[in-house]
């Protein structure tokens, strides 16, 4: 499959010469589905939202709740804007019980959740001591490394005893130990690049490194669904930024061309540097970046490419090396590879990998390496062990087994969901599996219904998604077995029937869906 893709992009007609036509989605060789929602659904979802806001306004005028008042600040300008308040109090509060559930165990295939009760319609919750066990399709535990036993936990505990659980110093002061070096070398080797640098938090890796590389004479072209941390980083850098349509190569190329020609809008000088910033797997859409085409654009126009592989690293590609592995692209074709250790590696922190020059520069100029505390030794060791497992350096075939298990799970679950007649977004190989329910009211009821079947899923709605494209998101994990998936699918079928979630108008194929045994 990879070789076909490569052939596809190198003689892609779209990239030869000036563009005349808008892309047609059918042409996309990447198997990605974004089925349009039925018209009636979109009307209902929109109306539903405004109805909630309207009820909220009335509620707000007649029964102003007592909870939300500021004490001792009379005569000050209000701290918050009113619309936010209405949304949070009257729309979000209705589904508040579906979020922030309190976990009391390892977030692996099964997860224990503490019971919460509310006596005032979700204004406040009381935590009880009782808990129940759920099947976990909510955590970003793609490779199942969130464990409290086995080699990872053992190694971590040893390091806690030896080096402590933290170092109270940034990297540029006295905050480096050999574990950091080991991890940086290992990351570079894993990704096939020269060097890497690691930080204590994934969010900060984006937010505090982008401004070190990008300045106000640069242009940033950013995918419309980029993560908040990327946007924070761009904002801090002071660069001009433009948003291109999600994964839309033609729009992107168009923007690159226009802006090379027009230069900086104020000074009219040519841009110093132009960056394309995108993600590997998009966490709300489940789509995979169209990397080969973006690399072709990057090469053609000499722009720089930054890829945030937070969700794809470990979870994609036959060796778990993320999107580059998936498309068989050369790692040197991407200038900055960023990723986090919170997801597939089951730990914390993030990395940036690339050329030696880049990393040396970041060591000296990154905000995070100068001011923020270093990665904790315990966390560093966790990542080292899980990465060595993925690379097959330790514990034999365990890492590969997990990668294959994840891939089979994803294929099976996605096909089955589609066969149920649901609209499922994203790439067929993406472990993030969003199932559309559209209206915000249905998010709440669906998640609650899943709870009744003891299944933990994530509901997402506005503002994380467009207003009327609320969805349920399943995060696949290598820790789940086929039997467990079947259990989830059985429950899903019942819920889909109950709430009428069969939105898809596509014909359902009669082919039998088989689970490819991973080993």
């Amino acid at each position: 499959m990879a070789s076909i893709v490569n052939k596809c992009y190198s003689n892609h007609s779209k990239l030869n010469g000036y563009l005349k036509k808008k892309p047609i989605h059918k042409d996309f060789y990447i198997e990605e589905s974004y089925e349009k929602m039925p018209f009636s659904t979109s009307i209902m979802a929109t109306l539903g939202f405004y109805f909630l806001i309207f009820i909220g306004l009335i509620n707000h005028l007649i029964f102003t709740p007592k909870v939300a008042t500021e004490k001792k600040r009379k005569g000050y300008p209000p701290l918050y804007d009113t619309f936010d308040n209405i949304f949070l109090r009257y729309v979000f509060r209705r589904v508040k019980d579906c979020f922030n559930s309190v976990v009391s165990s390892v977030p692996s295939a099964k997860i224990e959740i503490r019971t919460r009760i509310t006596e005032d319609n979700n204004w406040s919750f009381k935590l009880l001591d009782t808990k129940s066990t759920f099947l976990n399709l909510g955590s970003y535990n793609y490779l199942g490394f969130a464990q409290s036993d086995g080699p990872i936990a053992d190694d971590t505990i040893n390091i806690i005893k030896k080096y402590g659980w933290a170092i109270g110093s940034p990297r540029q002061e006295l905050g480096t130990n050999h574990l950091h070096f080991e991890l940086e070398k290992l990351t570079a080797e894993f990704l096939g690049v020269d060097d890497a640098i690691v930080f204590g938090m994934g969010f900060a890796t984006n937010a505090l490194n982008l401004p070190a590389i990008i300045n106000s004479n640069c242009l940033v072209l950013s995918d419309e669904y980029n993560h908040s941390s990327v946007i924070s980083g761009i904002k801090l850098s002071g660069a001009t930024s433009l948003v291109y349509k999600h994964n839309d190569i033609l729009d992107l190329e168009e923007l690159v061309r226009q802006n090379i020609v027009s230069g900086h809008p104020k000074t009219k000088k040519p841009w110093e540097k132009i960056f394309i910033i995108t993600e590997g797997i998009f966490s709300m859409e489940g789509s995979i970046v169209n990397l080969p085409d973006i690399i072709a654009i990057k090469k053609k126009y000499k722009v720089y490419l930054y890829i945030d592989e937070a969700h794809s690293i470990g979870a994609l590609g036959s060796n778990g090396r993320g999107v580059l592995d998936y498309y068989n692209c050369c790692p040197k074709d991407v200038d900055l590879l960023m990723g986090t250790f919170t997801k597939s590696f089951g730990s914390g922190g993030g990395y940036i990998a690339g050329s030696k020059d880049l990393i040396d520069y970041l060591k000296a100029n990154s905000y995070a390496s100068c001011y923020a505390s270093t990665m904790a030794p315990s966390v560093t060791q966790t990542v080292i062990t899980s990465m060595s497992m993925i690379m097959g350096k330790k514990y034999g075939g365990e890492g590969r087994k997990r990668i294959n298990q994840l891939a089979s799970n994803v294929k099976y679950f996605r096909q089955k969901l589609k066969a149920l007649g649901c609209i499922v977004y994203g790439n067929k190989d993406s472990p993030v599996i969003p199932m559309l329910v559209y209206s915000i009211a249905k998010v709440g009821s669906t998640v609650r219904e899943f709870y009744k079947f003891n299944i933990a899923t994530v509901g997402v709605g506005f503002p994380a998604t467009p207003l009327i494209e609320s969805r349920i998101r399943f995060c696949m994990s290598a820790a789940l077995t086929k039997e467990q998936l079947d259990e989830v699918l059985e429950a899903t079928e019942k819920i889909v029937n109950k709430f009428g979630l069969r939105y898809s108008k596509k014909p359902i194929s009669n082919e039998e869906i088989v689970y490819e045994t991973p080993y």
Binding site: S169, F203, S232
Partner: protein, 488 residues
């Protein structure tokens, strides 16, 4: 209905439409282009394929035979990073090979630790270590999700409740990184139209939080309430009504990271009340250190906590873990659970680090005499340096009771880079002799006010007077070898 339209069409002469239409298009293009450039000078013009502006531009481009292709091909970007002047970092050759507790092994040499935040030596505390290991056994190694999506563990809630109770305030939220706590908290409240008064020596995280908020930022002189008042009066004089409608904030630090001074809070609170300004205090250093029971700067000055709108703290300093927190009234703090970027969009703190912070906080709560010891040690460090010969070469910034001290070179005629280089040599001299000290790291070109280069000394409860004296002794040896004065 149909026929009149048909009639109309049949009578129109199409060549007329072409000619007049194209003139109209050109006119429109000129107008629109003007409008686009004047109305929005910040944003580059963005053309769509179906956009009128775009098509007219395309027509004109071909009309004037602008050679776009050539321009595109001739554009060459600058290199990704500037490699012309490689920076040598002062501390890049030192690696820790042990716990970062009161004795730390650096490159094989055991040193007395004056360099890392290790005030209470919690890394050697077995009961905390056991609690951390217990957490690994119960919760595994990571949290695998942001707070909203199965990343809230009961151990996080426990820590939040403990912090809120400890501070005697209503609610606390925790973040997984100290730096992002400060920036996210500021961004959650401060919006572009607001006005913010902030100390000129405020730490980098505050500066960056304010920069992302795009608010009007006004810097006042370091720890100088009079200057602040002056600035407020000036603004009020310029537009007396305006500030009443604009939210204003005052941001100070409990103990200033960059100077070691203790904030003159009573006066600032007084100004805050008189001018109706909300105050945020960054207690990253002072939490767990100032005050009789470690409740920070408010306890130190006996100021009721309701006078403060938000306290931002760090778990990385006194509590020897990783992460940060915000504490205040529910009305204020709750907002961050949906608007704090680093809170919503990042995986939560690994449970084991949360456990470490809980146990450390319990310790501080249980043994307040530790706080007194630390204060006494800090004063001793301060006085012993000030009474020694070192003072011929250095000035010691910082408050006497603060465990964080800055040692500056006293010769004012030295250039910035000379100071940096001398301090680096001093550090290089001391570490092999068994004293872990570090220069304070800054990105000088990004700071609002260029901080004076310094060696940052951090006290801890286990340093003895002998340790301090031998540090002074070695520093004196160092300045014998390394000239600290400009050659006249």
């Amino acid at each position: 209905m149909y026929s009149p339209i048909n009639l109309l069409f049949s009578q129109i002469q199409f060549n007329h439409i072409y000619v007049e239409g194209s003139i109209l298009l050109v006119l429109l293009w000129i107008l629109l282009r003007k409008a686009a450039t004047t109305a929005n000078p910040e944003k580059p013009v963005r053309y769509y394929l179906f956009d009128l502006r775009y098509s007219t531009k395309a027509i004109c481009d071909s009309f004037f035979k602008l050679d776009i292709e050539k321009k595109i091909q001739s554009w060459t970007p600058k290199p990704l990073v500037d490699t012309s002047s490689p920076i040598r970092l002062p501390m890049e050759n030192y690696f820790i090979e042990s716990k970062a507790s009161d004795r730390v092994v650096i490159n094989g040499q055991t040193c007395i630790n004056f360099a890392t935040h290790n005030y209470y030596n919690f890394f050697d505390n077995k009961s905390i270590e056991n609690r951390v290991i217990e957490a690994v056994n119960k919760y595994g190694v990571g949290s695998c999700g942001p707070r909203g999506f199965y990343g809230t563990f009961d151990i996080h809630i426990e820590l939040e409740e403990k912090i809120a109770n400890f501070m005697g305030m209503e609610e606390a939220v925790i973040y997984s990184y100290g730096f992002s706590t400060v920036t996210s908290a500021i961004q959650a409240y401060v919006k572009p139209k607001d006005i913010v008064f902030v100390d000129e020596e405020a730490n980098f995280a505050i500066q960056k939080g304010l920069q992302s908020s795009k608010a009007d930022v006004i810097y006042f002189k370091h720890n100088c309430p009079e200057d602040l008042e002056q600035l407020i009066l000036e603004i009020d004089k310029k537009s007396p009504m305006k500030r009443k409608k604009r939210r204003s904030f005052l941001i100070v630090e409990g103990i200033y990271m960059n100077t070691g001074n203790i904030c003159n809070l009573p006066k600032f609170i007084d100004i805050r009340i008189r001018h109706k300004i909300r105050i945020f205090i960054d207690e990253s250093i002072s939490f767990g250190i100032l005050g009789k029971k470690g409740r920070g700067i408010t306890e130190h000055f006996n100021i009721p906590t309701y006078e403060v709108d938000l306290i931002i703290g760090s778990l990385e300093t006194a509590l020897s873990s990783v992460g940060g927190f915000c504490v205040g009234s529910t009305f204020v703090v709750e907002h961050q659970r949906l608007s704090g970027l680093g809170y919503c969009f990042s995986a939560s703190l690994p449970p084991l680090l949360s456990a470490a912070a809980i146990k450390a906080l319990e310790h501080i709560d249980k043994y307040p005499e530790m706080l007194a010891t630390l204060r006494e040690r800090s004063i001793s460090l301060h006085r012993r340096i000030c009474l020694s010969k070192l003072i011929e070469h250095f000035t010691l910034g910082s408050d006497e009771t603060s465990p964080l001290k800055h040692l500056y070179l006293s010769d004012e005629s030295l250039s910035h880079s000379e100071q940096q280089s001398i301090l680096k040599h001093i550090v290089d001299y001391c570490i092999p002799k068994g004293f872990a000290i570090t220069t304070a790291a800054y990105l000088y070109k990004n700071e609002y006010k260029l901080p004076k280069p310094s060696i940052r000394l951090l006290a801890s409860i286990n340093i003895t007077d002998e340790n301090i004296d031998s540090l002074i002794h070695v520093l004196l040896q160092a300045v014998d070898v390394i000239p600290t004065k400009a050659v006249q």
